[in-house]
Each structure stands twice: as C-alpha cells, then as structure tokens.
Amino acid sequence: MQVFDLGSTGTTAGLITARNAGLVACQRCGQVHAIGTAYCKRCEGRLQSRDTQSLQKVWAWLIAGIIAYFPANIYPMLLTNTLVEHSESTIIGGAVDLMHHGAIGIALIVLFASVVIPIGKFGAIIYLALSVQSKSARNPHERHKAYELVEFIGRWSMIDVFVVAILSAMVQLNTVATINPGIAALSFALSVIFTMLSAQSFDSRLIWDADKP
C-alpha cells in the first residue's frame, strides 16, 4: 500500500478544522457543510459540530460500567456440578484453575481480557475525560492513540462471557457433569456494554480542539 498525503487546506496557517473554518463536517462520510446545517446531504446522517453532551454521557456510562464490574468479580461466574462435587468459580478463580491445568497462556489471555483490559479501560476513559475537561493541550497524539485503543480493544472483554455461554451449553451431561452460568456473567456483560457505550460517547474531536484558540 502506498501512503498518500491529501492536500491540506490553509497551507500557510497550518491545518485548520472544519469548525475553525465556520463549517460542520459529517462524522460518517466526511462531507463538509456550512455551519448550522442539520443533516448531511451525502449520507443523510445528523450533523453536529461538537457533541456538547459528550462528556456527560461518557461519565454516566462509565460510572455504570464501574458499578457493574464489582459484582462481576465478587460473585461466581461458573457453577460446576460433577458426581462428586459442586464448585463455584469467580473470574479470577477460573483463571487460577486454568493455571493449575498447565494452560498458563490461556489463563493469561483470560486474565488480560477480564481484568487488565476493563481496569485499563476505566483508567484510560477517566484520563481522556479529565484531560478534555481541563482543556489540556498536552500530547494530543498520545491521547488520540489511547482513545483508538480503548475503542478497538473494549469489545474483547466479552471473551469471558462467551466462554461461559459455550461451557454451559456444551457441558450438560445429566448427572455426570453440568456447568451453569453464575450471576457474575450478567454483571460482567453489562459492565463491558456500558464501558463500550461510554467510549462511543466520547467525541474525539474534543481532544484536538484544545490546541486551537
């Protein structure tokens, strides 16, 4: 693939944004309109120069996500019944079990997807929201990367929920062994969904506004 530079507008004064130029751009298709236009003429999407309620929505979904994350870790994720025993395992407990089975790589994937990613995501979103609120102009490139990473990686936390779904569907062998989902599966799925909504509510253009007066 060849890398190609699009000509920028305002070559002498540096790059300008649609808003600085008194225009509004469509976030879906890139078409530019005069400010105040309500719907995009190309893709018929709704136009908004900046989402003024972005941060409110980000905080609301984020707090919901953090609240749901606690029961997800405290309550059991899997209920296992075999002929001889009944056991309940939490997210962390399940990963530790995997380690005892010798599947250290898989245990690390599970730990990464259900502990490191969610907590890292909470931290990253808090950092992004606070930096936009304080109108910080520092390292926009790093913050933009953080935003893209959060958007990309957030969905992967769903792995554990799917593992529980597959195990519960597969291991239904009457009295010999059954596996059923615990309440934590529901709270964990909710936590992931809320955090994804929080990241989606974040208007990344706000990161870049601070370096322009």
């Binding site: 890398v3 920028s8 225009l23 569907a169 597969m170 062998l173 529901l186």
Partner: protein
C-alpha cells in the same frame, strides 16, 4: 475565511479530529491519512466495491452454515452432547441469565447477519452499475454503526478458551460449524480492511434517491 477555501464538495474532514483536507483521486492501491491525527481517511482499489460485496456474501452464507450445523460435540463416560451455536445462546435461557441469552444472540448471530445483509442490500446494485435500492444509505449507515457490536471473532477466541477448559473433563470433537465460523471471522476481517467509507458514500450519493 471560508471565501479562500475550495468548494465544500472538494473538502473532506477527518472524522476523528475534524481537520479539513482537499479530497482528490488517489492512485490505485493507495491509502490517505489525516495529517494531524493520522487516521486513515481513504483507501482505493478500483474493484473495491465488487470485492467487498463478494466477501460480504461469502460471510453471510458461512454464517448461516455456522448457525445450522453442529458446532462442538462432547463425550464423557458414555454420555454424548452436541452443541450448536443456537444452544450456546440458549444456555442462558433460565431465570436471571435470560437477558444475557438475548445479548449473546445479538452479538454473535443477529447483529452480524444484519450487518452483512445491510451491506449486501446497499452495495449489490452498485457493483452491477445499477441504481441503488431505496434506503441504501440508511442500510450502509446501519452496517457501519453496528460494527463494534458484531462479535463473531471474539466468540471464536472464547470457543478456544472453553475447549481448553473442558479438555481434561471430556473428549471434544469439533464440528463443521466451527470451521464455518472461523471462515466468517477471516472473511469479515478482510472485508473491513478493504472497505473505504468515503468512496462508498460518494458512490451512494451519486444515486438518485
């Protein structure tokens, strides 16, 4: 200030940071990035729409196969249990876990099928140089909006983890649907890499509504 700018239709703004650029025709197999934040703004491939469409149709057929054939079979102490993707969804159908069954059904079956269906509906006529169907723009917008919620590839990784968890407990056989699902994942990744939103919107715009 706007007097000095080129006509609005020649401009394109970065959807991530709002920076204005002048759109131009790219040479084949080129990729254009935003000058400020580095997001991909356009990619070109003269046959892109036809290829995206054919990949979408492939993924759609594979997904139907993945849903209907047995996915995994489990044997332990003389007992046998075959699981399809639908069973994985229905695993949550009791009591408080019911909402979870609905969510899993959406993430791995309904949303991927809707996305692919909408894409085929929007791009089908374009690939044959015919006028687009009514609502093609809305269909493509929907396919784009649902993108983060379509989780087939995550489901496949989940299956792998689950297989290792039960490996000690019972013998697991992989069914045809597993391979179909893996195919869906690969084809979807290829398709999403190839798609250029800008040129598809442009192609849809030139259609009489």
């Amino acid at each position: 200030m706007s007097q000095s700018l080129p006509p609005l239709d020649d401009l394109v703004a970065c959807h991530h940071c709002d920076t204005l650029h002048v759109a131009q025709d790219l040479p084949d197999r080129a990729r254009a990035y935003c000058q400020r934040c580095g997001s991909v703004m356009m990619t070109t491939q003269s046959t892109a729409i036809a290829r995206v469409l054919s990949l979408a149709i492939t993924a759609f057929v594979l997904l139907i196969a993945a849903i209907s054939f047995p996915f995994l079979a489990l044997d332990a102490k003389g007992l046998h249990n075959t699981t399809s993707v639908i069973d994985a969804v229905l695993a949550f159908n009791e009591g408080y876990a019911f909402p979870l069954a609905v969510a899993v059904a959406f993430f791995i079956i309904i949303i991927p099928l809707t996305r692919l269906g909408a894409l085929i509906y929007a791009l089908g006529p374009l690939a044959r140089d015919k006028p687009a169907h009514a609502g093609a723009k809305r269909a493509f917008g929907l396919a784009e909006q649902l993108r983060p919620w379509s989780m087939a590839e995550i489901f496949i990784v989940g299956v792998t983890v689950a297989l290792i968890k039960v490996a000690g407990l019972a013998a697991v056989t992989i069914g045809p649907a597993f391979w179909a699902f893996a195919g869906v994942v690969i084809v979807t990744v290829l398709k999403d890499q190839m798609i250029c939103r800008y040129s598809i919107w442009e192609a849809l715009e030139q259609q009489p509504d």
